[in-house]
Symmetry: C2
Subunit: 231 residues, 2 copies
């Protein structure tokens, strides 16, 4: 039986833009597991199976409900040990956490200043109202002001990718010769941006863009087969 | 027969401050290999065994000469496969490269603005003359000016450690439950700073400082048994 994935969607049911859900989507494909996704919107807290924390991804695998992308990755690795490994062992799992923390403190923080308003534009009116109120309270400014200087921010954002850039210049994937979960963590952020925004965050000749292309090619082009912009 | 390591030293022969040599020193200890270190100074290009690139670390293992810390780590892993692994497999090796690139583009770049002048202070007059000329040309300013605003830079430096901080808050080592080569890469940078400078770069309650303490305890306190400041 296929695993069910509750997956963040915009007003269009097939616009799937959560960076965390993309980690899970790619991890399921890496393991060769069938998945049925359920489009889910911010305000549908009561439609998630329990237990959950009011956020996605949440997966249902037979009787098991697992929430939180990291817990899901650990679950899949333990439950399906004979499928291709997500971590390649304990050191790989440990270091994937470092990559995750870099992604969340550098990459997500940088990207949100570029694409936050574009998320809003892809929501239905009810979710727009929720999203504007929630995010404007969180960030202490309007959505429009938050991304108003994004052209000026772009050079610093691109410079902040140096550790990633040097890595994928010298090896095909963050994890080495082959992709593994750490690649999906980083990729989730870029996929979020390209699904939700026509603002291209990567220069045409950036090695990070070539790596993003390799990621888009994986698993029969899984991440290309969704509505998205550019790249 | 012990492996010989050419190891960067200050005017005092036992002040060993190269972040790259510390990677190798810790990697040799991780593998349980005996080492004899040879103190080496910047201007002693002709004292290194061939082949080399005029820099340390260089190791001599029987007939083999290997230079460059990354090449040395790969060599040790391949030559001594039955000893504790430095990478824990190919994914771990790939991700260690990401950690290395983060260390060199964020951590080294940040630390050099805090401790460059302190390196100069620990050299003999001949090496001082070389170092001042070489580095002032490279950085386009005097050593004194380069670090003149280090107190003002400290908060941004500490903020740049967020990916590392989050990681070692939640697991004992960068590599997970046990230390591996990626830990030695990051540690090399902090050991460089504490060997050469009395400027404490980490706040007393920083989880990174607790991790540094765990690293200093490894291998019978190897990295504590050298002249250094604080922490």
């Amino acid at each position: 039986m296929a695993i069910t994935l509750y997956d963040l969607a915009g007003a269009e049911a097939d616009r799937r833009f959560s960076p965390f859900c993309w980690r899970t989507r790619m991890a399921l494909a890496h393991k060769g597991l069938d998945v049925e996704t359920v489009p889910w919107r911010f305000i549908e807290k009561d439609k998630l199976p329990a237990p959950n924390q009011g956020r996605v991804p949440v997966i249902v695998d037979g009787e098991r409900v697992v929430h939180d992308s990291s817990a899901i990755a650990d679950y899949l690795e333990e439950r399906y040990p004979d499928r291709p490994s997500l971590f390649g062992g304990e050191v790989g799992r440990g270091l994937a956490r470092f990559v995750q923390n870099w992604t969340e403190t550098v990459l997500h923080i940088g990207l949100i200043r570029l694409v936050l308003l574009d998320i809003y534009r892809h929501l239905d009116p009810e979710n727009q109202a929720y999203f504007r109120q929630d995010r404007e309270k969180r960030f202490g400014t309007t959505l429009e002001e938050f991304v108003g200087d994004r052209n000026a921010r772009l050079p610093a954002f691109r410079a902040s990718l140096d550790p990633l850039r040097r890595t994928v210049e010298r090896q095909d994937f963050v994890s080495g010769k082959s992709p593994a979960y750490a690649d999906y963590i980083v990729f989730g952020a870029f996929q979020w941006a390209r699904v939700i925004s026509d603002f291209e965050v990567l220069a045409a000749d950036d090695p990070v863009r070539a790596w993003r292309g390799r990621m888009l090619d994986l698993h029969e082009g899984l991440a290309r087969r969704v509505p998205a912009y550019g790249g």
